[in-house]
Structures are given as structure tokens and as C-alpha cells.
């Protein structure tokens, strides 16, 4: 069991507990229907997110990674999302260098009251990922095949 073949892509979300996770809850409470592709990992703050989590997910076969935190200046921990903003932007800039389409990664800000905005973010990002070809699994990598041929 994994994502449904042909129907879903593997999308991982990292959401801060105080704003965006709450916003996703608000969207649920409001029954704002969304695509089923996204799996959400809860972290205390967007500043907790190490860009390596994102790279690791994408290298491990995730088709897309979405990060969402509190709006800048509205961080539960005062300034965590300012650090997050710099790190995430840097991460996005660096993705092509490791051979990953930067469109596979987005970061955004959604507050706990913005259920409708969350619905929009998920819908748009999922559509964006469906536009891209499925990510290669490590076992399917042509480089791996090359390595194998080289013995």
C-alpha cells in the first residue's frame, strides 16, 4: 500500500502546529474538499524544518513537498518563520543543483483561521505536481542502472 497508482502522487506536507496545521483542521471542520494526495507531518514551528527533510523526501521518491507556517510576523515562537523563510527560499534555489525540479517544492503561509486558503493551497499544489512526471524511485534511477552495468 502506498499512494494509489495512477490516481495520486506522493506529496508530503510539513506544517507548523500553531497556524497551518490548525488551518488544515479548519478546512476539515468546514468540509472544504481537497485532493487526497497530501500526507501531513506536524512540526512545532516552520523554523523546526531542516531543509534536509525536504531534500531527503524528494530524493526518497516524494513527488512534491509543501511547507506551510504562520504568516511572517505572526509566529507562535516570535521569529521562527523568519528563519524558515530564508532557509526554505535557499532550499528552493538549490534544488536544481541536486537535479530536482524546483516546482516540486513550495512553501507558503496559512493561518489557523484560513481554512479556505488551505483548501486552495492544497488544490493548486496538487495540480502543479500532477503536471510534472512522476518522480523516479531510487531503484528506477537510470544512474543506478548505469552503475550496475559498470559492475
Amino acid at each position: 500500500m502506498s499512494v494509489l497508482e495512477g490516481k495520486e502522487r506522493r506529496i508530503i506536507g510539513f506544517l507548523c502546529n500553531w497556524c497551518s496545521y490548525g488551518g488544515a483542521d479548519t478546512a476539515g471542520v468546514g468540509r472544504f474538499s481537497q485532493p487526497t494526495d497530501l500526507r501531513i507531518i506536524r512540526v512545532p514551528c516552520s523554523g523546526r524544518i531542516n531543509p534536509l527533510f525536504i531534500i531527503k523526501a524528494l530524493l526518497s521518491g516524494a513527488d512534491g513537498v509543501l511547507v506551510s507556517g504562520c504568516h511572517p510576523r505572526d509566529c507562535h515562537y516570535a521569529e521562527g518563520n523568519f528563519y524558515a523563510r530564508r532557509r526554505l527560499e535557499m532550499c528552493k534555489q538549490l534544488l536544481p543543483a541536486v537535479g530536482i525540479d524546483p516546482l516540486r517544492f513550495e512553501y507558503t503561509w496559512v493561518s489557523a483561521s484560513e481554512g479556505q486558503r488551505w483548501q486552495q493551497v492544497v488544490t493548486d499544489f496538487t495540480a502543479q505536481i500532477h503536471q510534472l512526471p512522476p518522480a523516479l524511485r531510487f531503484s528506477e534511477s537510470p544512474d543506478l542502472e548505469l552503475l550496475r552495468q559498470c559492475g
Binding site: 502506498s2 476539515g28 514551528c45 505572526d74 515562537y77 521562527g80 493561518s111
Partner: protein, 652 residues
């Protein structure tokens, strides 16, 4: 580890679109899962008992509950496993309601997604370690921000129960919006007669320290131990000496200062006391209008003051207070009704706001309780009230209902008839919203007993004709156009978040919604709490509220504060950062990024190392993501745990 998985049906909330039994069956194959079941309502008494029994029967030492959001019931399940002797942090939740069953109807995809979320939770739980809270002493004092009726109620309730209260009010007097009202609905009793004694109680209560003309500058610390910096604004009057005699206000030659208390209806003096019942009753100089400051020559008040309280050179002062809890009761402000250009407010003097009208009705107001047209001072015979000015109108960004305008408009229509018996009132409304005790009866009285003409429809245009104002609108019940020649037009301006509410929210680290109102912990079950421990809400700062609701919330917030501070010691959340000394290279990066100064440098056998101050750490994990060595790890959200979740989702 021996893990048990409990998949909830939540009645049909989850089970309608997720096959809970199939999720539970799939979970049996996950690593270290030894027991798995699905239950109707896991949070209910039998549901919790089921968890406790399973822990005992199967010797579980970790539990995954797949149910609603952890923001909803994580504390519930933590308590449940603790009752069975398992550490409360050995619980993980998979959110299969808000994040799965409620947002999609595809049962196959939902069941599959729910199963993945359970697997993710299992993988995280496998790396959970028991955590134990530390205890710390709490300061048994509370800060109340805002001295309106909600804040007053909170302050008095807390003070009566024995807590020390610090109240901060940015105006020079407490009383808030209620102090400006003439009468209150639905009893039509005098506002200042019911509020005044409470204000006096605040001033006289030995447990209450009042800072008026002051604002909260900064807040640091955490629940139980907040450090608050209060900025005392320049009033140019030494309040220690001022007796509130009012001599200065009589002699002040600058008599055309803007009267904020009267909403600009009638002027005041540059040195003034807002109203006779002001608490504290102290004079304040408005520098914008004071001749000493505008021309450099005057000083009449300084000469006349019998106690020598005037001090033109006064500087801002900062005061420090330590408190254990904070209640925000900052209320609301009126929507700027000039946004409706078609109503001509600001251009036509006889188009005024409801609060200006209220000041006119008040016997202690600028017109002595006589209704007068601002343009020529004549008594109006035809008064038109327009409701929903800045309410329920998405086109100006105010889609919400302000709640109390229907009621105060009905009250003002009644009072208009009382003041001017031969007058006729017209009320343009969208719907009448009067859901409260004796509220609907009250609006009916305005129509039937006092003859107010209610017209259901919006006003399209107001234009002057002679000394009258023509109000043109539609009557949607009659499907016809209506034109009323009015002497005075009163706009029932809606409520919006208090000026700079968002700035305060940022200082308190609480959330606010799109409109600037503060967000409560849960819309139904935690209406006065916030998601920041130790910070509570009272009154209209959380959303538009009338007086009874504000008072009820004021008392509710006080009850929450009293509950929190009834204990001498509080438990700290152990989900905090921990340093592995062997890995720490003493670079100090974590110290620099910590927003709470919770990490300090220590010397360990001659080497620089980081050390976490446990009572101060709030568990954001900023240091964790910064540490180049991975030496500082946030308990319960370690790198390995997050990566285990990623791994679980990417596997197979």
C-alpha cells in the same frame, strides 16, 4: 516496543468515508504493532476504557490513536494512557478526520491515506521516549489588557478571589465603549449608572494596580512567569499630584481640541478629563492643541493648578511587572464609515455614526442630551438609521455580522421618540438579528410601540436637498424604490478589531484572524483560551459581542486564570530541546537563534558547550534545525523522528 493501534469511527464522521476496520486490519502488519482494533468513539468513556484494558491485556507501551486532530484530543488520550501506567508522551495520533474523512468522499483513497497516516504515526512512536514534566513556581498575578467592561469584569473577579491584578488601559480612563453609551438594550437602563460603580471598584480595590494612558510595550517569558514592560504615555500631568479638580479644564484657553471621548461631537479643551465619572479622574494634555506646545506661550494650567501637577517636560516611562497570566480584553473599534462614499459621511455634517449619536443622546454628552443636527443645531424631526454599514458586506472586506447593531439601532429609534415625541424614525435593514433574551421583543417594541418605520433594503445614495438629506433606497419587500427626506442620518457602523490589535497579538504570540480578531483555542470548547498557554481572551477582541456576552466572557476568562493560578507550581511541557554534550562543538549558533534566550553557554571540562534552560525553552525547535552537528534535538520531534515519518511515507 509493543504498540497498540486504535482506529476511531467517530460515529459516522470518519466511518462514512474511511473503512476504519480495514485501517485497523492493515495496521496489524506494521512493525512492533501487537494489537489493533477499531472503536465507535475512542474518546468516549468506553473508548478510553478500551485503551486502558488493551494496555493491560497486551502489555502495550505505546499507543497510536487514529481519530481527530491532535489539537483536539491529544491531551485526552495522554491522560488515558497515563491512567494505565504508560508515560503520557508514548501516544501518537493520526489525524484521519479533519485531514482525511472530512475533506474527501473517495472511500478507497481515504482508507489508503488513513492507513499511511497510521503507519507514519507508528514509525514516529517507535522513536518516542518517555518524558517527564518539571515543575516551576508561578507568579500569582494577572495582567488585564484593556479596561472596557470585559476587562473590568475579569479584573474585579480575579481581584475578589485574591489575585493581584495589573490593568493596562491605553486611554486616560477606563470604561471603554460602554462608558460612551447613553442607555443599553433591551432594558434601556443607563449605561454609566451600571458601569460607573464597577469602575470605582477597580480604582479602589486594593488588589488592582491601574495603568491608564499606558500600553503594553513588550512581553517576554511564559505561562506562570511573564515579564511585561508597560509604556506610560506622556500626559504632561503628574498624576501623583493631580486631584482631578478640573480647574485647569475650565481655564484652558484652547477650547477647540478634538474630543475623542465624544467622537468629535463638540470640542473639548486641550487639557481635559474625558468625562465626569472618569477613572482615574486625572487631566491629560493633548499636545496637538495645547498652546504651550503649538505657540510656545501659555502655561495657564500650570499657573492655575493648585497642586503644581502640570509638567510640560514629562517623558515617557517604562514600568516592569511580573505576572503569571495575561487576559487580552482590548475590545473593538468602529468600522470607518467613510468607506461608503455614497452615504456622504465626512462630506455632509448631518450624516453621523451611531456612536456619535449615542454621545448626543447622553445627558452628560456634548449636547447635554439634546439631539441636534451638527450643521445648524436644529432638532431633527425625521431621522434615518442605516444598518449594516461595515457589516455583512464582502465588497468592503467585512463579510461578518457585527451582531449588536440591530439591537442598538432599535434602542436609538426608541430613544429618538423619547427625546423628540413628534419625530419619525426610519430604519433601513437587511435582516433583523435579535437572538437574545428579550431582544426580539425589544425590536418589535421599536416598531409597534414607538412607530419606527422598518424598511428592508439597502440605501443606494444620500444627497443633500435644501437643508435636508434625501435618502434613496429600495424596499425589497414591496419591490419599490423609497425616498425619505431626512433631517439626520445615523449610520450603524459595524465593529472591527481594535486599532493595532494585530500588533498586540504579535507581542502576546497569539493568532488573529483575517479581520484582526484574536483566535480562541477552540470555537466551542475553549472560547476564552488561546493556543498560547497563560494567555486568555475576554470580550469583543475575540469577535463582536454585546455587553452581556462581554461580561460573561470576562468572568469566564477570570475563572480560567483562577484555575491556572490556583496551584502554587505549574508543570512545564517536557517537549523541549536537549543537548548531547559529546556532539556539541560549542559554536553557539543555537544560542543566537533562540527567540527565548533559553540556551546558554557552559563550560564542560574546559570546553564550550550549549545548555538548555529547561523552564524557559518553549520547544520551537529552531535550534534543532540550526545545529550543524545535530547535537541539540527537540524531544518528541527529533530529526530521526521526522525522518522516520518521511521514510514511512516514501517507502514501497
Amino acid at each position: 516496543m509493543r504498540i497498540g493501534v486504535f482506529v476511531c469511527h467517530c460515529g459516522s464522521n470518519i466511518a462514512a468515508t474511511v473503512d476504519s476496520a480495514a485501517v485497523a486490519a492493515a495496521a496489524r502488519d506494521f512493525d512492533e504493532v501487537v494489537f489493533s482494533t477499531d472503536t465507535m468513539y475512542t474518546c468516549s468513556e468506553p473508548g478510553q476504557t478500551g485503551i486502558i484494558e488493551a494496555i493491560k491485556t497486551h502489555a502495550l507501551d505505546g499507543v497510536v490513536v487514529a481519530a481527530c486532530s491532535p489539537r483536539m484530543h491529544e491531551p485526552t488520550f495522554r491522560r488515558a494512557v497515563e491512567r494505565a501506567g504508560v508515560n503520557r508522551y508514548m501516544v501518537e495520533m493520526a489525524n484521519i478526520r479533519e485531514h482525511v474523512s472530512w475533506i474527501g468522499k473517495d472511500k478507497e483513497a481515504n482508507t489508503n491515506k488513513a492507513t499511511e497516516l497510521v503507519r507514519m504515526a507508528v514509525e514516529k512512536l517507535r522513536l518516542n521516549r518517555p518524558l517527564f514534566p518539571k515543575t516551576f513556581k508561578a507568579t500569582r498575578r494577572v495582567l488585564v489588557i484593556g479596561g472596557g467592561v470585559a476587562g473590568i469584569q475579569t479584573a474585579l473577579d480575579c481581584a475578589e478571589a485574591g489575585l493581584e491584578v495589573v490593568m493596562v488601559e491605553r486611554e486616560s480612563t477606563i470604561g471603554g465603549k460602554m462608558a460612551k453609551l447613553d442607555k443599553t438594550f433591551p432594558t434601556v437602563d443607563c449605561s454609566s449608572c451600571i458601569l460607573g460603580p464597577k469602575m470605582v471598584d477597580v480604582a479602589q480595590h486594593p488588589n488592582i494596580t491601574l495603568y491608564a494612558s499606558a500600553e503594553v510595550e513588550a512581553v517576554s517569558g511564559f505561562v506562570g512567569n511573564f515579564e511585561v514592560t508597560i509604556r506610560k504615555k506622556v500626559t504632561c500631568v503628574d498624576w501623583e499630584k493631580c486631584t482631578g479638580c478640573g480647574l485647569c479644564t475650565e481655564k484652558c484657553p484652547s477650547k477647540k481640541a478634538y474630543n475623542r471621548f465624544d467622537e468629535g461631537v463638540g470640542p473639548t479643551t486641550a487639557i481635559n478629563i474625558p468625562f465626569p465619572q472618569a477613572i482615574p479622574k486625572k487631566a491629560v494634555i493633548d499636545k496637538e492643541f495645547c498652546r504651550y506646545f503649538t505657540t510656545g506661550k501659555c502655561g495657564v494650567c500650570a499657573k492655575i493648578c493648585p497642586t503644581g501637577a502640570i509638567n510640560y517636560e514629562q517623558q515617557e516611562e517604562l514600568a516592569q511587572e511580573k505576572v503569571g497570566a495575561i487576559v487580552a480584553a482590548t475590545g473593538y473599534d468602529l468600522f470607518d464609515w467613510r468607506a461608503y462614499g455614497e452615504y456622504g459621511a465626512g462630506r455632509y455634517p448631518d450624516v453621523i455614526s451611531s456612536l456619535q449619536y449615542e454621545r448626543m443622546l447622553s445627558a452628560s454628552g456634548p449636547t447635554g442630551g439634546h439631539i441636534k443636527r451638527p450643521s445648524d443645531g436644529k432638532e431633527p424631526k425625521t431621522v434615518v438609521f442605516i444598518q449594516c454599514v461595515g457589516s455583512r458586506d464582502a465588497s468592503i472586506g467585512r463579510p461578518y455580522c457585527s451582531g449588536f447593531c440591530c439591537m442598538y439601532t432599535a434602542k436609538q429609534a426608541i430613544l429618538t421618540k423619547d427625546h423628540i415625541p413628534d419625530s419619525q424614525s426610519y430604519v433601513f435593514y437587511m435582516d433583523i438579528r435579535a437572538p437574545g433574551k428579550a431582544y426580539d421583543e425589544f425590536t418589535r417594541r421599536a416598531m409597534e410601540e414607538y412607530g419606527a418605520q422598518y424598511v428592508r433594503g439597502r440605501v443606494a445614495l444620500i444627497y443633500p436637498k435644501g437643508d435636508k438629506l434625501v435618502v434613496r433606497g429600495t424596499d425589497t419587500l414591496m419591490s419599490s424604490q423609497v425616498e425619505v427626506e431626512a433631517d439626520l442620518v445615523v449610520l450603524a457602523a459595524g465593529a472591527e478589531a481594535a486599532r493595532n490589535a494585530s500588533g498586540l497579538a504579535e507581542k502576546l504570540h497569539i493568532s488573529y484572524d483575517t479581520y484582526g480578531f484574536f483566535v480562541e483555542g477552540h470555537p466551542k470548547l475553549r472560547p476564552v483560551e488561546t493556543n498560547t498557554a497563560g494567555v486568555f481572551l475576554a470580550g469583543a477582541c475575540q469577535g463582536p459581542k454585546d455587553i452581556p456576552s462581554s461580561v460573561a466572557q470576562g468572568s469566564a476568562a477570570a475563572a480560567k486564570v483562577l484555575g491556572l493560578l490556583s496551584k502554587d507550581v505549574l508543570e512545564s511541557d517536557p517537549q523541549i530541546a536537549q543537548v548531547t554534550l559529546q556532539r556539541c562543538i560549542g559554536c553557539g549558533k543555537c544560542i543566537r537563534v533562540c527567540p527565548f534566550q533559553a540556551i546558554r553557554e557552559t563550560d564542560f571540562r574546559g570546553q564550550r558547550k550549549a545548555e538548555v534552560i529547561e523552564a524557559v525553552c518553549q520547544g520551537c525547535g529552531l535550534c534543532n534545525a540550526t545545529c550543524p552537528q545535530g547535537a541539540i534535538q527537540l524531544s518528541h520531534f527529533t530529526d530521526n523522528q521526522v525522518l522516520a515519518e518521511v521514510e514511512a511515507l516514501c517507502r514501497c
